[in-house]
């Protein structure tokens, strides 16, 4: 697990401008921004599974989109395999590393293609991310065609077969003539994963891949992702709001709140000894499947504030049960409380 990080996200910011009315435009009012990601740094080692945990509006999906290059950060950069992904995609400015690397000779377009091949994203809803008019074969083969990775029909067939069978759709020929509507939810999500795997990526960004699925199918898909790491050493960035599934198969966990990471550490450690009040609350409300272990819930009232209007000081302080006046002024940064365990709270280590 140790070794060089395959993915480094450095001071990532992603702001989206809010559309404004004509009056605001005329009066040159400052444009309001949705600060979806507001300064996030982390790295993922080769073969590691990192959970990015947070509620909707925490910015976890935006981080994932920036990592695979589907969006361009407002500030900050993403290094993938040491290459600056954000510069590649933007196509301007000096590249940090690509100059001397083996990819330097490639055109911008080719470099983006390489990134897309190596870093793939799996989306949440297997009902909406498959084209209903394409067969399973066409869906899984399309990335190969786009990347011109199959030299012959035979090779294409072989690679599609392998991807489908790796994802548990065995035998592949039993499935590949079917249309998505003929498949169950779990099978569809397998097809989605096969479509990502067929390019033999090194990194999978799995965005809530099981939240739409039934309990037993959920276990199937999580076990599949787990096996991909074990057998192929694929690195996985797993974004979810469900701490229970994150606890099952991830190595480390980053808890996000309003565009920032508030706690980052080994999964078991964070779950057993959460140091940030938000993490503690989040863990306490996950339903435990045993009435004998009902716990005290720390329910936060209200909802995540609007990311156009981030509270000053610690962004969690208006909902924080432990807040003191200082929290209104100090914006706490991540600092270590234990080996590999960082927390952004002025009370870190004292909770």
């Amino acid at each position: 697990m140790e070794g060089s990080p395959v993915l480094q996200v450095h001071e990532l910011y992603k702001y989206f401008p809010l559309s404004q009315g004509p009056w605001a435009a005329l009066t040159r009012k400052r444009r309001r921004m949705v600060r979806a990601v507001d300064g996030v740094s982390f790295s993922v080692h080769r073969g590691e599974i990192l959970a990015l945990v947070g509620e909707s509006g925490s910015g976890k999906t935006t981080v994932g989109m920036n990592v695979v290059g589907l969006q361009q950060p407002t500030r900050g950069y993403v290094l993938f395999d040491g290459y600056n992904v954000t510069e590649w995609a933007r196509g301007h400015g000096p590249s940090l590393e690509a100059k001397d690397g083996p990819l330097a000779a490639l055109s911008r377009r080719r470099r983006i293609m390489r990134l897309r091949q190596k870093a793939q994203m799996i989306f949440q809803d297997p009902y909406e991310s498959l084209n209903p008019r394409q067969t399973v074969f066409d869906i899984v083969a399309e990335p190969l065609e786009i990347h011109r990775l199959a030299r012959s029909r035979e090779e294409k067939k072989e690679r599609v077969r392998e991807a489908l069978e790796t994802c548990g759709l065995v035998p592949a020929d039993h499935f590949w003539d079917r249309f998505p509507a003929e498949l169950s939810g779990g099978q569809r999500q397998r097809v989605v994963i096969a479509g990502a795997l067929v390019l033999e990526p090194e990194l999978l960004v799995a965005d809530e891949p099981v939240s739409m699925l039934d309990v037993s199918i959920r276990a199937e898909i999580l076990n599949l992702l787990h096996a991909l790491r074990r057998e192929r050493g694929i690195t996985i960035l797993y974004t979810t709001h469900d701490l229970a599934t994150a606890g099952f198969f991830t190595d480390r966990m980053a808890v996000m709140y309003l565009g920032r990471i508030v706690e980052l550490g080994p999964t078991a450690e964070v779950l057993a000894r959460p140091q940030h009040p938000y993490t503690r609350a989040l863990i306490s409300v996950v339903p435990v499947p045993n009435p004998r272990r009902r716990r005290q819930r720390f329910i936060l009232q209200g909802e995540i504030p609007n990311p156009t209007d981030i509270p000053p000081g610690c962004r969690f302080h208006p909902r924080c049960p432990c807040a003191v006046p200082e929290c209104r002024e100090t914006d706490p940064q991540l600092r270590p409380v234990a080996p590999d365990h960082e927390v952004a709270c002025i009370f870190a280590g004292q909770l």
Binding site: E55, V215, S216, N223, G247, V286, P287, P289
Partner: protein, 324 residues
């Protein structure tokens, strides 16, 4: 405790396009005592919602109740006329439908939608009284009453769910059925809704039926659990028994497939295969094709196992689970 709802041998068929009956629900039996909460769990398509719709006699046109009794306060709802049923719905038994929070009328204020429920059921005659009652209901579910004049799009998901619950409580029902009330909500909002349901249950002395596929939620909230599989009851017992001493192989497998935040890293075992299709139900035990219990035998494939009380209050439908 008085038994408020006593469902016996309830069976529902859906008629396929060609007229063949599909046995969607077969012989479902359970009881709901006053003030208690029952969790109805199972995978999608196991018939959970159909059972609830049958109890309220709200099945779609192709649905037929073919057998059974639904005794509410000792009287069989299946014998009621449609007019009598209308008195039962909302005023005695009300239901928060799955996704109801997304079915609020977008061009009317929340308050006016609650007022409509009150007036349709003629609980309150005067408009002013109805508005006051609507405000009371909103306060009850934790929404500031002045927000009643807002429209659904001005509400967050959690608030819309609260509004829908307020609406269901409009006529002081004795039983509240909540069908997947927290699906599609964030964890913290889920916890808020669960807390609300628990509080309402205690304050209003409500009996609650929670229909869900989330075992964790059931363990947190429910006193009793009914596990359904393929339209039949697999196991029915108190929460404590279901989660700590499950006897039906399906219940056991379902629990092994559910991640537990208290035990990170524990293996998750999925259940291979898919739930049976209604047009292709196995002749014996409906779980048999997916069952890997070492005790299973030829009888499983031929004969449907009867629901048997193996210990007081613990019912299991498996040939191999015997009375202790």
């Amino acid at each position: 405790m008085a038994i408020l709802l006593d469902v016996r041998d309830l069976s529902v068929d859906y008629l396929a396009d060609d007229g063949t009956p599909l046995h969607a629900v077969d012989g479902v039996t359970f009881r709901l005592e006053e003030g208690r909460s029952l969790g109805l769990v199972g995978e999608s398509g196991c018939g959970k919602t159909t059972v609830m719709l049958a109890i309220l006699r709200l099945l779609p046109q192709e649905g037929r109740i073919v057998r059974g009794q639904v005794l509410f306060d000792g009287k069989d709802l299946l014998q009621y006329s449609e007019a009598q049923m209308r008195q039962v719905r909302w005023q005695h038994i009300s239901m928060v439908f799955q996704g109801a929070m997304n079915a609020l009328n977008p061009v009317r204020t929340i308050e006016s939608q609650i007022v409509e429920a009150l007036q349709v059921h003629s609980v309150v005659e005067h408009a002013q009284a109805a508005r006051e009652r609507a405000g009371e209901l909103l306060r009850l579910v934790g929404i500031p009453p002045e927000r009643g004049s807002q429209y659904p799009h001005q509400y967050s998901g959690g608030m819309r769910q609260r509004a829908v619950i307020a609406m269901a409580l409009a006529c002081n029902p004795r039983i509240l059925i909540a069908d997947e009330p927290t699906t599609a909500l964030d964890v913290m909002i889920q916890a808020q809704i669960l807390e609300l349901l628990e509080r309402l249950q205690a304050e209003l002395h409500l009996s609650l039926i929670l229909v869900t596929h989330d075992l964790g939620m059931v363990a947190e909230v429910c006193d009793d659990v009914l596990v359904m599989y393929g339209g039949v009851v697999a196991e029915y017992a108190s929460s404590d028994v279901i989660f700590n001493d499950p006897c039906h192989p399906y219940t056991q497998r379902l629990l092994q497939a559910f991640p537990d935040v208290g035990r990170p890293g524990a293996a998750l075992a999925s259940i291979p295969g898919n739930p049976p299709r209604l047009d292709d139900l196995p002749p014996g035990c409906r779980f048999q094709p997916r069952c890997d219990c070492p005790r299973r035998g030829p009888i499983c494939a031929h004969e449907p196992p009867p629901l048997t009380e193996i210990a007081p209050g613990h019912y299991v439908a498996c040939h191999w689970v015997r009375k202790v």
